[in-house]
């Protein structure tokens, strides 16, 4: 609106002698933001509509919601807790009341021993006819259903927290480094190389030894190691865009560096950034799983999807059902994050409209 007025004024004064003041940067935030103001009319509504047009994106979002809901209420859905051990009820195969009569999930498993294969049903063997472990029980006699969902809860918190922190820190670092270039870039990239050149395991182990082991320490450790990837993406994108005309235009209009970085360039690279965030979620879950594997993960008896997979891994050839629930939940979680990321990226980037 103010843009139109300004244009009118300029058009109105035909015989005008330029003065020095006219050649200074206007430095008027309102006017610089002009194109953004214009574009943002109905933008988010547009995104919303575009997003929900895509079936896969909606499915992904629904899956995330379902898994999150289960992560919240799942552990309370039966009488077991994630830590209570019933050592006389170890390694019970999955058993679900409704499906029992169809011959599946009836609590029996066939075990391949070195002397042959045999079918066992511990529920019948021990006379526990009213007992139902929906996903089976682990080698401490803990309910895998409860543990899977409390593990999903822990993993979600760790992954989302780490990914968000990672995004904020890494993105800012990469954008700033890429935009300023020259000496700034040189120094920032060397610092990054030093930080990244030291194997992640060395830093993380050290952190976990020095700090109290727990969820916050793991998030901190992940943050410290994962931001680098994001910053590289952001920097590469910045290098691609910063010589483009719209950046030049904005600079000519007198926009400050940080305005250009965060208001002009950032919205243009939101696609790759979101893709990278979605990738840092599995990376975060993975790194946590790896830490569990070397014995530095979430402290026992607490669990995460990663530590459950590590635990189940030890029974992979003996009781394969123990590793399946955490892997399936993890895969679904990854799939849905990917679908949501895809949907978001296409919804956010109008260029995809015509495709």
């Amino acid at each position: 609106m103010s843009g139109k007025n300004a244009a009118a004024t300029v058009n109105g004064t035909v015989s005008y002698t330029p003065v020095d003041a006219d050649f200074k940067w206007k430095n008027n935030a309102k006017e610089i933001g002009i194109d953004e103001n214009f574009a943002s009319q109905g933008f988010w509504k547009d995104v919303f509509v575009r997003y929900f047009k895509k079936v896969s994106a909606v499915i992904g979002l629904a899956l995330i919601v379902v898994i999150t809901v289960f992560a919240i209420i799942g552990p309370q859905m039966n009488e077991f807790s994630y830590s209570t051990q019933y050592l006389d009820q170890k390694n019970f195969a999955p058993r679900i009341a409704a499906l029992e009569r169809f011959g599946i999930f009836d609590g029996s498993e066939s075990m391949k021993t070195t002397t042959g294969s045999m079918k066992i049903n511990y529920y019948e063997e021990k006379g526990l006819n009213d007992l139902y472990y929906w996903f089976g029980s682990d080698n401490f006699g803990r309910d895998i259903w409860t543990r899977t969902w409390s593990g999903a809860r822990v993993s979600l918190i760790i992954a989302v927290a780490a990914a968000l922190i990672d995004m904020i820190i890494g993105m800012s670092y990469g954008l700033i480094s890429g935009y300023f270039g020259g000496k700034t870039d040189m120094i920032m990239q060397r610092i990054l190389e030093i930080a990244n050149g030291i194997p992640r395991l060395v830093i993380v182990t050290l952190l976990l030894l020095v700090l109290e082991p727990g969820m916050l320490t793991i998030i901190f450790a992940l943050m410290l190691t994962e931001w680098v990837g994001m910053s590289r993406i952001a920097r590469a994108e910045m290098l691609k865009l910063k010589e483009q005309e719209f950046v030049l235009a904005s600079r000519t209009l007198g926009a400050g560096s940080f305005f250009i970085i965060f208001k002009e360039v950032l919205p243009n690279i939101i696609g790759p950034i979101i893709t990278q965030v979605m990738f840092s979620i599995p990376t975060a879950i993975f790194t946590e799983a790896f830490l569990s594997f070397v014995g530095l993960g979430i402290p026992v008896p607490q669990c995460s999807l990663g530590s459950l997979i590590s635990e189940g891994f030890n029974s992979f050839t003996t009781h394969p059902y123990q590793i399946i629930p955490p892997i399936v939940v993890m895969a679904l979680l990854m799939l849905s994050f990917n679908l949501v990321a895809d949907g978001l990226r296409e919804a956010l980037d109008p260029k995809f409209k015509e495709m």
Partner: protein, 585 residues
Amino acid sequence: MKKAKAVVAVLMASTMMLSMTGCGNSGADSGNAGTAADNAADTSAADNTASADTSAQADGAEASGATASSSDLNIMLETPVESLDPQQATDGTSFEVIADFTDGLMQMDADGQAVEAIAESYDVSEDGLTYTFHIRSDAVWSNGAPVTANDFVFAWQRAVDPAVASEYAYMLSDIGQIKNAAEIIAGEMDKSELGATAVDDSTLQVELNVPVSYFLSLMYFPTFYPVNEEFFNSCADTFATSPDTLLSNGAFIMDSYEPATTTFHLTKNADYYNADSVQLAGLNYQVIQDSQQALMSYQTGALDTTLVNGEQVDQVKDDPEFLTIGAGYLWYVSPNIAAVPELANLNVRMALTTAINREAITNDVLKDGSLPTYTAVPMQFAAGPDGSDYSADQSRYSDVCVYDAAKAAEYWSAGLEELGVSELTVDIVVDADDAPQKVAQVLKEQWETTLPGLTVNLVVEPKKQRVEDMQSGNFQLGLTRWGPDYADPMTYLGMWITDNSNNYGLWSNADYDAIIDECTTGDLCTDAEGRWARLYDAEKIVMDEAVIFPLYTQCNAEMLSSKVTGIEFHPVALNRVYKNAVKTE
């Protein structure tokens, strides 16, 4: 047909021999096997030169053809070798491999007793302070040089040399009590003054500070193995890091090896003085850290023996090739008595120890045949003057540590009352390894269920860190283990004297110190039976005061191919000895 039957009988007898050194049989036939094993033991006692199964098996092998002599034994290791330098090695894997190609003065027989090896004979002086070993003339190194008394003197001087800084130097000083060893380690004397001297090439004389009843059994410990000085000097700094820098005087010769490798191989040593009795063509070692891969490899026949993880026991427990073997380690919880006021309370400690259901830990979680233990000295490693196991009677202190939820709760409420609190939070440090974490999770659960108001936090740390924390007193409860260094209860009881660095709880009791002193350097040194009785008195003090909460004696679940017989398993020093093993095709 008859011959075939004989072979089967021999095989059975030898398998039962194995189960005798093992952790007892988990099946219902344990009584049966016990008697068979006794018979076998009798035969081997009657036969001095070779163990019963070997000589018998030699006949069996002849009967079934000559294939036995042409095959390698394929052995699985869980961890890589740390060092093949006998004076630097500290772990069981390294010891086992060193013993494959090196003989000491003495060796272990199938029952774990010390018998002559490089020493042809030995004399002990009346006062028990001087040992004279006569070295056999046919013992040679693989480069042709004879094994001489000097090789031992050189090796032992290395062991105590502060410049070498051998971690097991204390085997010569504190445990072996060799004259001047302690002073040399402390840097107060030159290593040439060590109380071990070569009288001539074939005579080694050792002087001790005090009589040491188990001194001969130390001679099979690798720290005491010989090193050829000339060869050592020719290798410079690379000694024991490749086949070229290793010298053998034992049953096998290393022919492919790299430091910390995952596969290596040894071949039979034709120049070994007892080469005729070595049946195997060689040893093929494979390091496998993943237990599921190990079992699959075993099932395809790539391995002849492998360790089995607790979870896999369900798969293999009915297999006749499945065994449990005593590993010697006692696992226990050490409370920090000096630094944590709550744990200084005897009732609290009694509550904790009586609230532990040890059977549940071994049967339901570990499942590898480990034995629940109710004594401060574990089972099956120390035989007394009458030949019986020191800790065979597990009910000796059962009133103070056997699982009893009601009694534990009583102790607990009494303890809380004395402390004037209604709830308690304690931390327990555990190793970041699989088994300790499993055990700790069960302990936490058992304690919290039985003792109302107790919260237990697990602090999981890498082992090195855990040991450091415990040695510096920076812990509340610690789950730790101790493996015997020599076949005498003192290897355990010596830990809890005042100011010992492994007395983690810094417990101190003057009566206890006096008994231990009496048994190590005092009057009882030479009185085997009297000493034995006093050791029980000392152990009773430890148990009554709940200085430690013993949990279990570790066993390893293993698979051993039915083609293989004669491997000797020991809980002390050398866990597996292969020189008498036989493999039939």
